[in-house]
């Protein structure tokens, strides 16, 4: 089956039997009352953010740039800079991550939680062959001989449909295209079979056709591995493709959350309404000014 045929469905044609976050199941990831401040002036980046993510669930985190999407992901990863002050709780399978010793976090990261970065160029070390870089993620978490590691890396590269994975593994990042780099990152993130993958706008830097292909790959890889996903984006269409649930972040706080279908059909927050209106170009009258998110925030939108 080629990628093209799978992309035909409105939201992919993959089984989505994974339940939404029900209150009784043990959450894979649970954030409670998360607050983050930055710098000397204590600028608040996150206000009382709470959410839960069931095993295998895919949650889209959507919001403007600067709204706190990436801060949420970095807080989960424990990668916030030293200038940040954090309160609240982040639990992964019941274990508290905030304030956990660095060694415990290091064991968790990469193995149980992986991350796909936004910029495939800066997420790959320009001085290192990509195969070696991917192998680093394996070697730090599993004692594997380097030949076995290399085989695993090449298999993973083949799984994300990189042409000629052997050659790609020996290439430097600048020798690959943007889509190839992002697929390398995706393959690297999947290498240790993590249970949670954080995607920080993984397709923003790609052009639209490559974006569709990478999303499709992500969709299938998640389905195959059963990993949960926290998907950060400002693009509703992208989130709707991959996720079952959406959480809307505005100015550091979660303003709306729910299943994709309900949220798209019946948005309550002005920001969400604005986003949807801005995406529905087919509904705009020809010749009239296109709606912007700001119109809705000011309350002037229809």
């Amino acid at each position: 089956m080629t990628a093209g045929t799978e992309m035909s469905g409105p939201r992919g044609t993959l089984p989505r039997e994974v339940p939404s976050a029900s209150q009784d199941s043990v959450p894979l990831l649970e954030a409670k009352g998360l607050n983050v401040w930055f710098g000397r002036h204590r600028r608040q980046a996150l206000r009382d953010v709470s959410f839960r993510l069931a095993p295998g669930q895919r949650l889209g985190l959507i919001g403007q740039s600067g709204s706190g999407k990436s801060v949420t992901a970095l807080a989960v990863m424990g990668l916030l800079p030293d200038t940040a002050r954090t309160t609240g709780s982040i639990r992964f399978e019941g274990r508290e991550l905030l304030g956990a010793p660095e060694r415990a976090l290091a064991a968790l990261r990469g193995r149980d939680i992986a991350m796909v970065f936004q910029e495939p160029m800066t997420a790959l070390d320009p001085t290192m062959r990509v195969g070696r870089q991917a192998a680093e993620a394996v070697r730090l978490h599993a004692s594997a001989t380097s030949r076995a590691t290399r085989r695993r890396v090449i298999e993973a590269f083949a799984e994300v449909e990189l042409p000629d994975p052997e050659r790609v593994a020996d290439a430097f990042p600048h020798e690959l295209s943007g889509g190839q780099r992002q697929r390398v990152l995706l393959a690297t993130a999947l290498l240790n079979r993590p249970r949670l993958i954080l995607c920080d706008e993984p397709t923003t830097a790609l052009d639209v056709t490559v974006q569709a292909h990478v999303l499709d790959l992500l969709d299938r890889s998640l389905a195959a591995s059963g990993a949960a996903c926290l998907f950060i984006s400002h693009d509703l269409a992208v989130v709707a493709r991959v996720c079952q649930d959406i959480m809307v972040v505005f100015d550091g706080a979660i303003v709306e959350t729910g299943p994709v279908a309900r949220l798209l059909a019946n948005p309550s927050h002005p920001y969400t309404r604005g986003l949807i209106a801005a995406a529905r170009l087919d509904e705009a009258a020809p010749g009239s000014r296109l709606p912007t998110v700001e119109d809705f925030l000011r309350g002037t939108g229809s």
């Binding site: 990863m77 970065f117 910029e119 070390d125």
Partner: protein
């Protein structure tokens, strides 16, 4: 054409280094041998570059001087980078009170002129090759600290550092595998720039008699010896002067050429 400066500079530096090494095994004459009959001879078949006021062969002294220059300059830059780069990388990755102290200390060292440092060290330790090397190394140290610090800051902000940390890599592994390879081009360019400065500094110090003892031939001392008879017999002063010029020019050209090729901003374009 872009590689022309690198080729010319590299060739000049190679000749310089080869001459210096050759002097350890062979020189046309003994550099210290005094041949009174050859006083002030212009370049001839017996003395290719002539002889100085004491009848010592200039070419032989020039070759021996090249070794002293290479030794002092090379050791100074090597030790400055071996100490300065780890400090700078550490400060860039650590970013705290302790690293601030290191950076301010290096700023203070920056403010002291190399010559003053050298006079200070000579006053305490006496003039020797080791003292001159230490003085030049100390003056070069803050350059490496500051350069590797700022280069590290740029590298450490990249996502692949976060990715490596996510993979569970420790700070030492990140410094070794990701930071150093990425700042290596800057280091190479800085090393060649510092090396040419060190050659000049060594010449200056030995001209002032603050470096090697009088028995060791150095370019700076040769210029000082030749200076007295500059208007009557210019050869003994011109020859080491030209040698210094050629060595510094060669190393500088090489550094420029390296930068053109290694500059990360240009690397993407090719």
């Amino acid at each position: 054409m872009k590689r022309l400066p690198l080729l010319i500079g590299g060739a000049m530096t190679a000749v310089f280094a080869f001459t210096a090494l050759l002097s350890l095994f062979w020189t046309p004459h003994d550099p210290a041998f005094v041949d009174a009959a050859a006083r002030f001879t212009p370049p001839s078949s017996a003395h290719w570059l002539g002889a100085d006021r004491m009848g010592r062969d200039l070419l032989s002294r020039l070759m021996a001087g090249a070794w002293a220059t290479l030794l002092v300059g090379g050791l100074a830059v090597l030790s400055a980078s071996l100490i300065g780069v780890p400090l700078g990388v550490w400060a860039g990755m650590r970013r705290g009170f302790l690293s601030d102290i290191v950076l301010r200390a290096s700023d203070i060292l920056f403010a002291l002129p190399a010559l003053l440092l050298a006079i200070l060290l000579v006053a305490v330790q006496g003039a020797s090759i080791a003292t001159a090397t230490a003085a030049i190394a100390l003056a070069t140290l803050p350059v490496f600290v500051r350069m590797s610090y700022s280069a590290t800051l740029a590298v450490i902000a990249q996502d692949y550092i976060d990715a490596a940390r996510l993979g569970g890599a420790g700070s030492l592994a990140i410094a070794w595998r990701h930071v150093l390879p990425n700042i290596a081009p800057n280091l190479g360019v800085q090393a060649s720039a510092s090396f040419s400065t060190a050659i000049l500094a060594e010449a200056g110090l030995s001209y002032l008699g603050l470096a090697a003892p009088p028995t060791t031939p150095t370019w700076g001392r040769m210029m000082r010896d030749g200076q007295t008879d500059l208007f009557v017999n210019p050869w003994p002063a011109i020859v080491p002067g030209l040698a210094i010029t050629v060595a510094v020019l060669g190393v500088n050209l090489m550094g420029d050429g390296l930068r053109d090729i290694l500059d990360p901003r240009l690397r993407e374009l090719r």
